[in-house]
């Protein structure tokens, strides 16, 4: 058994930022466990820019952003394992790790979960039709093109207007493929507004809202898909079915926080986020186990992942010094119009950054924090959008003496 003060599962954006922040807090005995051959996580394959606008006032590519943290990890001498998979975790914080050197057990005083997400698959959404070659989730396609230097198709239809799909639309065009269209089930786009301009409009790729794929044709390789319009209830309008010939279907239909290890440890998840139930320090329902980054909630901007992960270090530090003394346990209620709020409950009434997403796009909206009838904080937005996470900080003085907390969208 190897003892560690802090073990971080995942060396991507969240894990790296958490590690560096923990070291800056004075924590020495840290270990990052990463399954791939390099640190950086998904950032390694995101060769487009736009990363770091908040944190570094600069527009970096994914690998550049990751390198900023990898450099700090190396400068600080933070220990990390590569090509290493955590295959088991217990509620006693015992980890089983496998790599070429062997199978080892670690006893951690604290654990930071930073495993990121997986992509939702064709099978999970049950698209009818055959199962030929040429159906890829956007992330896999991105990996094949950017890391392995392959081309995955010539005539592409993209289902899902999430950021990865939009980025890949541009990528494919730049590599000489034809992206015929992007189909989006909802009446509005799922990605960041800037990506619609920079990835679709700039390349004359049509976007069809209220549309989905209802059939895939092709024995060995994709030959065509059938697109159809859906009504306001999401039901397919049969008469609008139209066959589109293509050799590739790219799916960008959602990310799912990868919480298999989390469940193994017996940690409770929030069905609204797909991630763990946490307090303001990102501590889960098991004391000493924290979660941050995409494994906690799906982020759209990596800078927020870093900020979230950096805040975790405060909690980890205090936990290890036995300074986390809960004052009160207040469950955050959310009003209609909000999909979720994080954290789901607060215990210490310290400065807290709340993250949430709205259910639908809207103009001239207000986010209101209430303690029963008393309004604690109000913030106005010209535009709100499910694709853009909202983060609002409440200070400890704003939170002092509250009995209940509700977040509303007006």
């Amino acid at each position: 058994m190897i003892n560690k003060d802090v073990i971080i599962i995942g060396g991507g954006a969240a894990g790296l930022a958490a590690a560096v922040a923990c070291r800056k807090k004075g924590l020495e005995d840290i270990l990052i466990i990463e399954r791939e051959s390099d640190l950086g996580g998904i950032l390694k394959q995101c060769i487009h820019d736009g990363f770091g606008l908040i944190k570094f006032q600069n527009s970096y590519t994914g690998p550049e952003y990751a390198q900023k943290y990898i450099d700090q990890v190396q400068e600080c001498g933070i220990e990390f394992l590569l090509d290493s998979m955590v295959i088991d975790i217990t509620n006693q914080k015992i980890l089983t790790v496998v790599n070429k050197s062997g199978l080892k057990k670690y006893l951690a005083k604290s654990i930071i979960l930073a495993m990121g997400c997986r992509e939702r698959t064709r099978g999970a959404i049950g698209i009818p039709g055959t199962r030929p070659a040429g159906i890829y989730t956007a992330g896999v396609a991105q990996n094949l093109i950017n890391i392995h230097n392959y081309m995955i198709g010539k005539e592409v239809v993209i289902l899902g207007s999430g950021d990865i799909g939009l980025i890949m639309a541009r990528r494919l065009m730049l590599e000489g493929a034809t992206v015929k269209m992007v189909l989006e089930l909802l009446p509005y786009g799922s990605g960041l507004p800037r990506n619609f301009n920079q990835c679709l409009a700039d390349y004359d790729i049509p976007l069809h809202l209220n549309h989905t794929v209802v059939d895939i044709k092709g024995g060995k390789r994709v030959e065509a898909i059938t697109m159809a319009k859906v009504d306001s209830k999401g039901k397919i309008i049969e008469s609008t079915c139209q066959e589109i010939s293509c050799d590739t279907l790219l799916l960008s239909v959602g990310l799912i926080p990868e919480n298999e290890l989390t469940k193994m440890a017996g940690i409770l998840l929030d069905p609204l986020t797909g991630g763990a139930l946490v307090d303001e320090y990102g501590q889960t329902t098991i004391n000493g186990i924290f979660a941050c980054g995409n494994v906690l909630q799906v982020h759209d901007i990596v800078d927020n992942v870093s900020l979230e992960a950096e805040h975790i270090a405060n909690g980890v530090g205090r936990y290890l010094s036995s300074l986390l003394k809960p004052k009160n346990n207040i469950k955050i209620e959310i009003g209609p119009g909000l999909r979720y709020v994080l954290p789901q409950h607060i215990q210490y009434l310290d400065d807290t950054v709340f993250s949430f997403r709205v259910k639908k796009p809207g103009n001239k909206k207000q986010i209101i924090f209430r303690n029963d009838s008393r309004i604690i904080k109000k913030k106005s937005f010209i535009r709100v959008n499910p694709a853009e996470m909202i983060r609002i900080k409440l200070t400890s003085s704003e939170l002092s003496d509250i009995k209940h907390l509700k977040v509303e969208l007006n």
Binding site: M85, V98, E119, I216, K220, R221, E260
Partner: protein, 497 residues
Amino acid sequence: MNKNTENHFDVIIIGAGVVGCSIARELSRFKVKVAVLEKESDVGWGSSCRNSGVIHAGFNNKPGTLMAKYCVEGNQKFQSIAQELDVPFKKTGKLVVAKKKNEIIELKKLKRQGELNGVKNLEIIGEQEIKELEPNVRGVAALLSPETSITSPYLYTIALAENALKNGIQFYLDTEVKNIEKKANSKFVLKTPYKQFITDYLINSTGVYSDEIARMAGIDRYRIYPCRGEYFVLDKNASSLMNHLIYPVPHIEEGGLGIHLTPTVDGNVLIGPSNEYIDTNNRNDYAVTMEVLAKLCKEAQEFLPAISPRYFIRNYAGIRSKQTPPLQGGYKDYVLEENEEASNMINLIGIESPGLTAAYPIAKKVVSMIDEKEILSPNPKFNPFRKGILRFEEQDDETKRILVEQNSDYGEVICRCEQVTKKEILEAINNPLGARSLVSIKYRSRAMMGRCQGGYCQTRILELLKDKYNYGWNDFLLKGSGSNMLTGNRSNGESNI
């Protein structure tokens, strides 16, 4: 029976499904020169890999039929065969659940039918007992069949083929028989795109194409009506919802067993199969359809309300070789026969459920039909044992530790969801049959069968194929020739060495 030219055989089996591979293995017990010709790039890609993996007890089949006889015998023999071949096997038992009181009489009929067929330990249980055995299932009564078991139909087919290969049988994949000529000396000449074969005995185990192959040899009396069954595969988290196979009371006129809930040996759950006749001109139509998927989902929830779409990870379909046309439905018994038009050609027609269970008895019967004419002499080198790929995930921690120590390739977990290591994937890539499509690797190693469906491991498997076999972009096939995964290298990219 010595054939001196390399393309002359004593016996040729057309079709490397579970039945063809069973026959190959049974023949390898004797000194016979045998080849198996398979049109696909791997064994079992027809119905054999696409069913529920159930080893049926035999109460669903009419007494006196071959289906009934072979099912019961196959069920009783399966465990020992599975052990010889290192194939997974679980005796979960089955519950046929009556939702309404007026279905109980059907249960009693099934029980009696089973007992007539020689099925052991069948029992009718009541509502309370159902609740105790299966807390999530609703029903007023059920037939409990403890002898019903599950296996992995694709691992079974692969194991049979590998053992047959080891014992001297030759396998020709990607070899479609285009033409059969009967010679005056009653030999058969088979033409395939790349090679010609000559054989004394010909076995037609081509499943859904068996009538067409028969017709090539001048036999026009058979008709196969392809009938598709669609499935959902559920996440392993769903396996906690049931312990047994859960089936509704079957309705004969539908021509299938009804939609069932089947746990798999790996811990997934299958919903299905459905039942729809498809166009006889398109027997390869493995598409899943919107209407059927919706129906499967709804009917499954009727039995097990806890089933929800969040468990779904994949759909697939298989095609039954039915001898009864759409308007008739129902079943016709297996046909295993020679014909006047082509003596020494044994046709296996209409091998639908319980085909997986019946494969071994069918194989033995086919061998006895040849033995009657030829008097086969035993192969002293025959070895019934075959070892599959060791599953790292199934071992305890101490065994895992030792495995990694002995071979560091066990220390690299490539498929996160199913915990499949590099060692296992390399073994799957280097399989004895030489099948190297991604799906062949998937079936043998279980990589890509988890909830992310290859999202993490797919690119890593391609990397391994490139390392081991120097694959270029054109070589990566999903499932056989024509299923190219890539369309080129990046225009100005260096190749990834």
